[in-house]
């Protein structure tokens, strides 16, 4: 099987290790990757500021970028959510709408995609680490308050399958970290109060690493932890899996 890599702008230039790890894991599962050229921004920023015109223009670009059939896999729940919103941007009955529906239907968040692969359970990752997981509110599907207790979402399933990994659940692990894109710029005080809460609850678990499936949450939380003088390696779930598959010492252990 071939998968098309959908690399969020933040990952491309600020967190490329997450995408590299994603490639490692996908290839280990026997999924060949293609990296369509011309990726910039999926339009999420424009969309969330209410700028439909630019959101539509960028969505149209991505319909072309990912025109080639096959699943599209992305290491960010919020970017996937944006692509799944594309059909709303076009008039039903138009060819754009049909293409948007098609793309939305074959675009997957990394963890969701991996957990559904037949080989996922036998991935065999092994990593001895105390990992605190932040469940991003932007993960597709989310984690409903009324969901049956103990039901794991895809990132938790994957992390629990890593031998040696201690999955630490912070209090309110699925509560928003306060980033929210432009929210963090317009409501700076509220955003900061929320990331303070998040960091306090994470640090209480005394983890060695912070793990999430959402790059922007990782940036927000790890950025505040650094300002607090309590930095933690902030890793995408894909990086934890890739580190657990490799023989090399995980990169965050080689520092200091």
């Amino acid at each position: 099987m071939h998968a098309n890599l959908f690399i969020p702008c933040l990952v491309e230039d600020c967190h490329p290790e997450a995408a590299q790890a994603m490639v490692t894991v996908l290839e280990r599962l026997g999924v060949a990757v293609r990296h369509p050229a011309g990726q910039t921004c999926c339009g999420q920023l424009a969309y969330k500021t209410g700028d439909l015109k630019n959101a539509r223009a960028l969505a149209l670009r991505y319909l072309d970028v990912f025109a080639r059939p096959g699943p599209v896999v992305c290491p960010s729940g919020s970017c996937v959510k944006m692509v799944r919103t594309y059909p709303e941007l076009f008039t039903p009955g138009t060819s754009e709408h049909a293409r948007a529906l098609d793309l939305a239907g074959r675009t997957f968040e990394f963890c969701e995609f991996v957990a559904a692969q037949p080989g996922a359970a036998q991935l065999g990752a092994h990593l001895k680490v105390r990992a605190c997981y932040h469940g991003s509110c932007q993960m597709t599907g989310g984690h409903a308050d009324d969901a049956p207790k103990g039901a794991d979402d895809a990132p938790r399933q994957l992390l629990r399958a890593v031998r040696g990994l201690t999955l630490l659940e912070a209090e309110r692990a699925d509560r928003c970290c306060g980033f929210g894109g432009i929210f963090s710029l317009q409501f700076t005080a509220v955003s900061e109060a929320l990331v303070e809460d998040k960091c306090r609850e994470i640090l209480a678990q005394e983890p060695e690493i912070l793990v999430s499936a959402e790059p922007s949450c990782l940036m927000n939380i790890s950025g505040h932890l650094a300002r607090l003088g309590r930095p933690l390696p902030a890793l995408h779930v894909a990086q934890v899996l890739a580190a657990g598959l490799g023989k090399a010492v995980p990169p965050w252990r080689t520092r200091t």
Partner: protein, 464 residues
């Protein structure tokens, strides 16, 4: 009259964040409500189906609203209730002060109602010479404090026990410390008012079209007393509160108290149909129903935003909203707060006053996941953002979109930034992003690294 200050929402939210006492009280209260609700729902077999029935009852009512309202008017009138239509807040105030003066009302007792807050009824009654008493404990507390309610179902949720003890001592010269003591003091003070009242005014949780009844849900008994002690009762409803039948009302009642306070059923549920009948020993002698539009017909006409009118005000979305948990209700600047309040205020008040509201949301979706009626607050929030953004351009956003449409220019811009400012120290100086300096004050910004594309290309070359 209390001024609406929603245009200052951003500043007020920042001020609320700095109030550590408020943060602690909110944290405690919202966790308490969430725990009660969670426990109640866990012990609610088939809740998914019950939620769906409640939603169907609400959506059914919205889709047939004009017909149901006519049916309600016919049946309420037949039961002896006088029905009044108010297009806006001013008309509603005029109708109610008119009823009060016709009844010679000197003392008015009120049940907790958001709608009478919305129309700023109390100052109008006071200006007409009546003494007005809020009889819900929480509402009584905020009335004494001269504040608006800060939560849909718990008006004084922002006040600690100590705050209330101080307030009672100052305003009523009543001294108590524990919650039972304070409650008893309020009860004694209010009991006299019930007996002296000439007029009782309440909101409406539901009005039933097929019977012409109004249904009121409460825990303190004060609404029961406000509707039965005084000779005249005025119920005020916004027009979306109508439901088709008692059966639909029952479907909603199965869900509303559980979602609001974690109770299987509220302590009191009153179904009031017309005034006291012959041979009956209690009930008001004269009953009025005021049906208020106040902009709702316009909301109903919007295919996306009309969903906000499905809300039955359980308040669960407030308790799970990280923003509400942090700033409380007052920062929103008007009577409604939290996720549903953001939607309602944006829809009911002038756009120029409410532009910032839908942006004060992280779009985390906790509200949507919690709403027993599955109202899609984030989707509605986005519709409001689109409305607010029309005709306004953000320089950073426009520049970003322009670059993103031209990958070569985009890569050139990122490459240049990486060469001259890899640690993004200049980021806060970008035009159109005023909050960035505060953002990087509290977050170490990310660094620009060698791109994934470049790394991936190298890795591919290395392969056999």
């Amino acid at each position: 009259m209390r001024e609406m200050t929603t245009r200052n929402f951003r500043r007020q939210s920042a001020e609320a964040c700095r109030d550590t006492n408020l943060r602690a009280v909110l944290d405690h209260a919202t966790r308490y409500f969430q725990a009660k609700r969670g426990a109640s729902l866990e012990a609610f077999p088939g809740r998914g189906e019950h939620f769906a029935r409640a939603r169907a009852a609400r959506l059914n009512a919205l889709s047939r609203l004009p017909d149901l309202l006519e049916e309600l008017e016919t049946n309420a009138s037949a039961a002896g209730t006088q029905v009044h239509w108010a297009a806006d807040a001013a008309q509603a105030r005029a109708i109610i002060t008119g009823i009060a003066s016709a009844a010679g009302a000197r003392v008015v007792v009120k049940g907790k109602s958001m709608i009478t807050e919305e129309i700023a009824l109390n100052p109008a009654l006071q200006a007409a010479g009546a003494e007005v008493w809020e009889t819900d404990l929480g509402e009584f507390i905020v009335q004494l404090a001269g504040e608006p309610p800060s939560h849909i179902i718990a008006p004084a949720v922002h006040k600690s026990r100590e705050d209330v003890a101080k307030l009672f001592a100052e305003k009523l010269n009543l001294h108590g410390q524990s919650i039972p003591e304070l409650t008893l003091l309020a009860r004694q003070a209010l009991r006299e008012k019930f007996l002296a009242a000439d007029l009782g005014i309440t909101g409406v949780n539901m009005a039933v079209a097929e019977t012409g009844s109004v249904i009121l849900v409460e825990n303190e008994g004060n609404i029961r007393m406000s509707t039965t002690c005084p000779p005249v009762h005025v119920a005020v409803m916004s027009l979306e509160k109508v439901v088709a039948s008692l059966e639909d009302a029952a479907d909603i009642l199965r869900v509303l108290p559980r979602s609001a306070t974690g109770q299987k059923m509220s302590s009191y549920v009153s179904v009031l149909t017309g005034p006291r009948g012959q041979g009956e020993t209690d009930g008001a002698r004269e009953t009025h129903l005021v049906i208020l539009d106040n902009g709702r017909s316009e909301i109903l006409a919007d295919p996306v935003l009309r969903e906000a009118l499905a809300c039955f005000r359980c308040g669960a979305c407030l308790n799970v909203c990280p923003v509400y948990q942090t700033i409380g209700g007052h920062a929103y600047g008007w009577v409604y707060s939290g996720p549903i309040g953001t939607l309602l205020t944006s829809l009911l008040q002038p756009r120029a006053e409410t532009r910032d509201l839908p942006f004060g949301c992280t779009l985390c979706g906790a509200c949507k996941r919690t709403c027993p009626l599955s109202i899609d607050h984030p989707k509605l929030m986005m519709a409001l953002r689109q409305r607010a953004a029309k005709g306004r351009t953000n320089r950073f956003g426009a520049a970003h979109s322009l670059l993103a449409r031209h990958p070569l220019a985009y890569r050139l811009a990122v490459g240049t930034a990486r060469a001259v400012d890899p640690n993004l120290d200049l980021l806060p100086r970008l035009p159109g992003l005023p909050g960035l300096s505060e953002f990087v004050d509290s977050r170490h910004p990310p660094e620009l690294k060698k791109s994934f594309t470049a790394r991936h290309r190298t890795a591919k070359k290395g392969k056999p």
